[in-house]
Each structure stands twice: as structure tokens, then as C-alpha cells.
């Protein structure tokens, strides 16, 4: 039993079945990510002025990921174009770059997640003495006049203290950071604090604040889509490539469909990157 229009398009719609299917599915994905973006806007607009964090994410890494995905986008369309021109070897080459880009993306994302799990906020009590080594090699002691927050990456945990690369936030003295570029201009030093002076510490996981929550949810869901897409493309590149010999048109259509999904994943990132990293 043959299902019609699996490979050849139907005259009045001009489409073959899987293409209708994937666009319908992508429409639902637009609503999915759209709901998350709407939630982001709502949470941000509803936050108190100055409470929304900036500068928590590594922009060069994010930009690299953006370029990696853009490269994979063009290789995935070139792979399909090669198949249309009956060049299977070129297809294999382009698609392997796509898969490589996918792996680089996930790798960088994992590093970023790890980076946030080692980024801590320490609540330090009044009167604590911190040892500060600044970037010029200078070394001085800082005594806190009030309950403060030490914010930075945990480099080392010694027997009685934490070595942190970060900065001290005095909740009263410093004005709240309201723009992304302000966050970039904060100086970071090596600071050592005694464990006994720390009243509470928490790392920058999704539990830390709403911004981290929406960041992990959005990028996590996106990364799952990257992995899913890569698995499908990988399957078609490897074990599923046999169909090129038996039914090349259907195989080419499959490559086109998986490419459409991949482009959608890239499209989501094109919006994710500025919204989460730059604004």
C-alpha cells in the first residue's frame, strides 16, 4: 500500500507530505519557544528596576556558538543542494561538518553550564576580613563594614576558606546595574574569604534567580533540540544512508526535512543569543 505524495508533490499544494508535516511541526515549535520568550519578557518587565542581572554570561563564547550554528546552517543546506546535484560525496562532507558544528555547540554549551555551576554568590557577614589580590599583583586586606555579597567564580576550596575570582558588592553603596555594558566594566580580583564568615552560599544554577531559571530552561530546551536534530542528521548520514541507493528522491526529501528542522533550531538561537546574552 503506497501513500501518495511521499516523494512527488501534490499538484494543488505543490508540496510532498513530509514537507507539510515538518512545517506544521515547526509552527508548533514556534508556539513552544514563543511561550518561553513571552514568559521571559513578562518576568523581566515584572522585575524591580535594577534587579535584572546583566553580564552573567560569557559573550565571546555565545558569539562563537552563534557563528558555529550559522556555519552548520549553511553546510546543511549545501549538503541538500549537493544531493540535488547527485554528488553524494560532497553531501557526506558537508553533513559531517554540520555534525561537527553540532558537537562543538553542545560542547561549548556544556562548558558554559559548568561555568555557571562554579559561579557562586556568597553572603558574607559584617566585619569579615577578605584578602584581595588585584590584577596588578597588588595585595591588600578589605574589612567589610556591613553585610555584603561576594560574587564570583569559586577557584579553590581550602580547609577554612574559599578562593574566589570576583568582586564584592556592597548593597548600600553601589548603584544597581541596569545596563549590560555597565556589568562589563566591573573589576574582578582574586579574593579569599574564610568559611566562618560566609553565612550562605549558592551557585548560579536555575534556582539562583529568575534570569538563570529562564536562561537554563530556554537554552536547555534549545540544546535538546540541537541534540535531537543532530541525532536525526547523524542517523541519515550513517546507518540511514542506504536509502540513497534504493530511493534517492525520498532520501533527498528526508535530508531536506531534517535540514528545515536544523534551520529552525538555528533561528531560535539567533533570537536567544541577543536576548539572553546581550540585553
Amino acid at each position: 500500500m503506497e501513500i501518495p505524495y511521499t516523494t512527488e508533490p501534490r499538484e494543488d499544494t505543490g508540496l510532498f507530505n513530509a514537507k507539510v508535516g515538518i512545517w506544521l511541526f515547526l509552527a508548533s515549535e514556534v508556539m513552544l519557544f514563543g511561550a518561553l520568550f513571552s514568559s521571559y519578557i513578562l518576568l523581566r518587565v515584572g522585575a524591580e528596576p535594577g534587579a535584572w542581572p546583566h553580564g552573567l554570561l560569557n559573550i565571546p563564547l555565545g558569539m562563537t556558538n552563534t557563528i558555529v550554528l550559522i556555519v552548520s546552517s549553511i553546510t546543511v543546506v549545501m549538503a541538500w543542494a549537493s544531493l540535488k546535484m547527485k554528488d553524494f560525496a560532497k553531501f557526506k562532507m558537508f553533513q559531517s561538518i554540520t555534525l561537527l558544528c553540532a558537537m562543538i555547540f553542545v560542547g561549548i554549551k556544556s562548558y558554559e553550564y559548568h561555568d555557571k555551576f562554579t559561579h557562586y554568590e556568597f553572603q558574607v557577614k559584617n566585619g569579615a576580613v577578605l584578602e584581595v589580590h588585584d590584577e596588578n599583583g597588588g595585595h591588600h586586606e578589605l574589612q567589610l563594614k556591613t553585610d555584603s555579597v561576594l560574587d564570583g567564580h569559586l577557584l579553590e576550596t581550602t580547609e577554612d576558606g574559599y578562593v574566589v575570582h570576583g568582586h564584592v558588592i556592597d548593597p548600600q553603596a553601589q548603584a544597581a546595574v541596569t545596563h549590560a555594558w555597565q556589568a562589563r566594566e566591573i573589576k574582578e580580583d582574586h579574593i579569599t574569604v574564610k568559611k566562618s564568615d560566609v553565612t550562605y552560599k549558592e551557585n548560579y544554577g536555575p534556582w539562583h534567580n529568575t534570569y538563570m531559571a529562564i536562561y537554563f530552561t530556554l537554552t536547555g530546551l534549545h540544546a535538546l533540540h540541537v541534540i535531537g536534530g543532530a541525532l536525526v542528521i547523524g542517523f541519515l548520514w550513517g546507518p540511514g544512508a542506504g536509502m540513497w541507493k534504493t530511493d534517492p528522491e525520498r532520501y533527498t526529501n528526508r535530508i531536506e526535512i531534517s535540514g528545515l528542522f536544523w534551520h529552525f533550531v538555528d533561528l531560535v538561537w539567533i533570537f536567544l543569543f541577543p536576548v539572553l546574552y546581550l540585553l
Binding site: E8, P9, E11, T13, G14, L15, K19, V20, W23, L24, A27, V30, M31, G34, A35, F37, S38, I41, L42, V45, G46, E48, P49, I59, M63, T66, I67, I70, V71, S73, I74, V77, M78, A81, K84, M85, T178, H179, A180, W181, R184, G259, L260, H263, F264, D266, L267, I270, F271, F273, P274, V275, L278, L279
Partner: protein, 118 residues
């Protein structure tokens, strides 16, 4: 079989089996690729500028993102040469997404009778 090919050609779909046609397509893809890279660099560079207005910052970032998105959707996803059916589905989706976003945010604004800490 050949009738089907002719029918496809007559409908003017992007499914050209002509290698020469594809060279044109490849050139277009490369152009889009360069445009995307440039767009990314501009967006990141713009974020370094000391712009005070949050609204303006957001507008610039989203404007460039929309252009990049349009290029990906239009050329890489062949939307420029795609059929009405797909356009219809996407238009409806875009409308409902906009509705979800706009109406939700509008309804969560404080009313004039309720003064929140803002």
C-alpha cells in the same frame, strides 16, 4: 515520469534539477551566510555602546535578529519560493504567538486602581 518533471517546472518550484540553477542558489546561500556573520558581529559590537535607553537597545538587537531570522527562513528554508499553504500556516502561527505575548503582558500590567511598587 517526464510529465511530472514538466509539471514541476511549469509550477516554478525551487526543485530545479539543473546544475547551473543550483550554482545560482549556492551563490545566494553564501551571500546569506556572510550577511548572517556580519549581523552577528554588529549585534555584539552594538552591545558595547553606552546606550542609556533600554528600549532602544532592545529595539536594535531585535531588529538585527529579525533580519537574520528572515534571511534564514527566507533563503535557507526556501520560504521565499514556498507555497501559499506554508505561508498560511506560518501567518496564523505568527498571529497567535503575537496574541499570546501581547495579551498576556497587557493583562498583567497593574490597573490604574492598584498601585504596585513601580
Amino acid at each position: 515520469m517526464s510529465d511530472k518533471h514538466d509539471a514541476q517546472g511549469a509550477h516554478g518550484t525551487h526543485d530545479a534539477h539543473d546544475a547551473h540553477d543550483f550554482k545560482q542558489h549556492v551563490r545566494r546561500y553564501l551571500f546569506v551566510f556572510y550577511a548572517l556573520i556580519v549581523g552577528t558581529v554588529i549585534t555584539v559590537a552594538a552591545s558595547w555602546a553606552h546606550i542609556d535607553s533600554v528600549a532602544l537597545t532592545v529595539a536594535i538587537a531585535l531588529f538585527i535578529a529579525c533580519i537574520k531570522g528572515f534571511l534564514v527562513a527566507g533563503y535557507f528554508m526556501h520560504l521565499m519560493s514556498e507555497r501559499k499553504m506554508i505561508y498560511g500556516i506560518l501567518l496564523a502561527t505568527a498571529f497567535f504567538f503575537a496574541g499570546l505575548m501581547y495579551l498576556t503582558i497587557w493583562s498583567m500590567q497593574p490597573t490604574s486602581l492598584v498601585h504596585m511598587n513601580q
